[in-house]
Symmetry: D2
Subunit: 345 residues, 4 copies
């Protein structure tokens, strides 16, 4: 199957290429980059010298529709919403790694993304590609809104407890930490090596785009409007997200019981690993892989369940999950092309 | 004034030396190290070649009492409690960077530190050296229990709100992050560079020693028994602590009002800097210095006050605060010897 | 084909597992670790939870010979030399990642490795597994002495120029830099995160074990005894080696001509990439992969050829090259199981 | 004494502020920044909140001359040459951290700096501020060309051997490594945290600006035209330079003898520390301080002397040395304001 990647020079694109290179059923036929059309991809990313010999191209929707079956969008916000409708109309399936089709509420979209939401008809078609939760809908989808990195780690961490009704829906606190690739390839003073090294920082308190996304997913599960407190931080490392989540247990529960509940919930999910009692996952333990590892601890003194969920933000939090979605859409084994193990150390 | 440092090869000791070298009223006359007696200090720490020419010595209490006026203990847990009583009896003032004299409750001490607490009479004499809060008692003290690193960042962050009665005492959640020097100089697999680099991890969920210390300090302020939820994490950097603290506001308050309240509270404290609205402190902004920087944000959607408090764990969280205590005890300007600015970048 | 790995808890072993997991012709049937016998591998390396379910076993040569066809040794120095002879005698092929069978000269071995060399008959059988240079001999070998990390990067960088006779054999200066995994998993103060972070250091000037190995390889190529000046350094990063090599050109040569000469030399070698003029490879560009990337620059002012050669020390410098050797020994495509791309960023 | 700093937002400026804040004889009266005029300095550098309360100003030479006695230039190349002449004419002493006045040869300047050199009369007045070598001339100088970072580490490492005539002047190879602050504060893809982390790279082979500077200094010492081979590299850390220097000994010399020769040479220099046999300095051992530490090793097999010289590039390689020059110019103790110890770990 031929696919194209739009947004060629971002980290999402390069990570898609890393996995798709070893995918048995897929060939990356085109890399689209508005600003780098005509430039060999390996000039921007010399680590792919002798491996990827494509030149980047400008976007031409008609042409694209003729040559590929699926298009991945690894573009900034407010780009894919202008292109995906035409592709869908031409029968091309789209997997969008940006946030353009994730939210259903146009008002929320506008206030967090600064522009109008995509056309309603496509918003309605879009399936939120959180594979472990929406597998059935993904099978039939033509347009996947691939989840954000924080929402993936966070909602996979909360959903089992929430759906079992064992926690208070009014007190959900998410203290999240990401590696720097979460901020993408664009330069910024705060991500200049000299200023990010030996530094740890919080940012966008209360206003991060992923807040409405997390709330939408959790509200769907809970069948009621939820609000969360969410604080993102940046860690001086390239990859990895940890969400440390604090929720109030409605009734007494042991750590062991919580673990069993989570294991049961994810028993058929190859990429979610629930850790044994006493072991809390570390970000490096999923580095470069599509795993989401979850550790649990019940603080009996304060009646809280503490959930620690880790992913590689570029893999399960972006490109890996996008390929997992592609696999599900095509009826291939969900792990196809995604069997690379975590790199450690 | 002549002082001695016990626990010579730890990071606490080397950091005391860094500041005391430029302190106008103090001379480090002795460095005591049980295991390195007879070895030149600069052999263990070559960065002090030509600067510190002392040899480390074994501990000899009588002799020490003759030659110095103050002894700093930068020793592991359960060491200073065996030595400080004799020194106090001989009229030597002691500043203990370990946890031996911080807790008043022997039962709690035993359950978190694994051994019996120090003799009651000395526990009663000990003053908890959180300078900004206990300045008056410190002036008269002979024995200072220098606060732990997490408790310093955390309690300085919470106390203003707590003492003003604006927050719910039942919901205090502390998500704390430290650099690796917090774990000291002893080798451990988890701090081996190859395994700590590009890694972020939580540890000791619900069982960290600093939990009872934080609760004791806050309970004193609140005049009631408090419990907190506290989760420590390790960041792949050497120095710096950030405590991100989540508390529930009893009544509506704007971010600006919260900031003003904190500014007023710390108006006479040279080492606490309350940041302006919209600016959240980063750990690197206090690197190497004795500052505690605090940023505030009111999440109006969820009614929470989010407090971000950062320190350099080895300075305000250990050796710097110890010297600040020494200054207060001697009536010197509180900043003496501590005017080194943060190193940035 | 069933294989075993001896030296289970080292980084060499875990990296063998990472690649062999996706190797279509190989199954890792046993992991041998003297000190961890009976312990599940994923307890030591939780990133392999749910993936590797083997328990480590004590070494039992007879039993091993019955169950596997090839044994990889990822052991410290002076271990494999005691075991490999019995395995070879029992018809098991061995690939030794340690230095025990690399040197032919017993005197040199003793002075650099501190013990007697392995039995002469096995030393003679051993083929030095530098794939690009010794491919023919490797095909027939039963015992592979897998090259050291520095020697791999360094000799691949020098051999083309040396074998073409364009450089002075008397002035070869190698300034080498490695990531910390080169020092292995054993704890040491110098590799404690707090002391290695923000640090760069030279070590073992003039006495590193890889000096005689590099000289042996180059002397073979040059057909005369060579000596090199070799200075290793450690970089605060986990993976990657760069050898910056300074040699004197006998006659004028342009950078372009040097590049063409190298491209011609390695024209059939899938894992060596010669970079275009003006591009010097960076270690991150081979991170996690089996590539050796080489950049060249002729300094016309001083008549020197400067060669920059980079590898991932754990892959092309250890486990990847070991699998490349396995592939060659078995007549499989040389890249089988090694097609994982560099991880960037 | 009032001083001004031009080039306010660069790392050189902020590092000057760090040291001058504790300098007993100096007050920073003005910070000049073309592009940030009117902005409070602590807005750009929040770590100086409550410490530096100056606003940055536009440059006004007349006004500056009235209010300050000395001006530090921490500007990019080709800026100070347009301003310093006027200031000198108005009787203001200038210390230039940029390269504008370092080279004497206009042709070389043009080919390495891309523009015409400063006016000859000021070039002639400029004293190259390598304190340990040119102390006498510095005392009388009005205009200091403060040395570059690589030239400082490198020439301090070579000069003793060169001036004693024990090495071959024709074979000087300098393999240099710097932390990222050497590249300054301006953003660049190669210094984006995500791409610099876990990366080590060589750059500007054969064309770095510091080549003619190093050659000019060494040629002066040797009284003959010298050429060097110089390869700079970047280390994933913020601060620190190591120059590993390879020279050929003319006659046999032991490591011990080399060390004694260096100790004798620098016997009156408080900031140069010659290490004992068997100890090679590491960059972290001078972090944040004005020291230059030098280690020596004679490789008897190849007849080479290997010199390892380390500095903090922002201190002894820039701002610290600038203040050392100020002290010498004013007859103050050379270490005034520079007694901050290395920060370790």
């Amino acid at each position: 199957m031929n696919v194209a990647i739009v947004g060629g020079t971002g980290y999402g694109a390069v990570e898609l290429l890393r996995f798709l290179y070893n995918h048995p059923h897929v060939k990356v036929a085109k890399i689209i980059s508005h600003s780098n059309s005509g430039i060999p991809f390996s000039e921007v990313y010399p680590h792919l010298t002798n491996i990827v010999d494509l030149e980047m191209e400008a976007l031409d929707v008609e042409n694209l529709a003729k040559e590929v079956d699926v298009v991945f969008f690894a573009t900034p916000s407010n780009v894919s919403k202008h292109v995906i409708p035409s592709l869908i109309d031409l029968g091309v399936k789209c997997i969008d790694l940006s946030g353009d089709f994730r939210l259903r509420d146009g008002g929320l979209y506008k206030s967090y993304y600064g522009e109008d939401i995509a056309e309603e008809t496509y918003i309605q078609q879009a399936v939120y590609g959180l594979c472990e939760i929406n597998r059935q809908e993904i099978k039939e989808a033509s347009l996947i809104a691939n989840p954000g990195c924080y929402p993936t780690a966070t909602t996979l961490g909360i959903i089992p407890a929430l759906s079992k009704g064992i926690i208070d829906k009014k007190q959900i606190i998410i203290d999240a930490k990401t590696g720097t690739t979460g901020a993408g390839r664009s330069l910024a003073q705060g991500f200049h090596f000299s200023e990010m090294q030996e530094n740890f920082k919080a940012y966008k308190l209360g206003v991060h785009k992923h807040i409405p996304e997390i709330e939408q997913v959790l509200s769907d599960v809970a069948n009621t409007e939820l609000q969360v407190t969410f604080t993102p931080h940046v860690v001086p490392m390239t990859r990895g997200i940890m969400s440390t989540i604090y929720v109030d247990l409605k009734e007494k529960l042991s750590t062991k019981e919580a673990i069993n509940l989570y294991k049961e919930f994810y028993r058929n999910d190859p990429f979610v690993r629930i850790r044994e009692e006493g072991t809390i996952p570390q970000t490096k333990e999923v580095f470069g892989s599509n795993y989401c590892d979850i550790g649990l601890y019940v603080d009996e003194r304060t009646g809280k369940l503490i959930i620690v969920s880790v992913i590689d933000n570029l893999v399960k939090g972006a490109s890996g999950q996008a390929i997992q979605n592609l696999n599900i859409m095509n009826g291939w084994d969900e792990t196809t092309g995604l069997t690379q193990l975590p790199i450690y150390p």
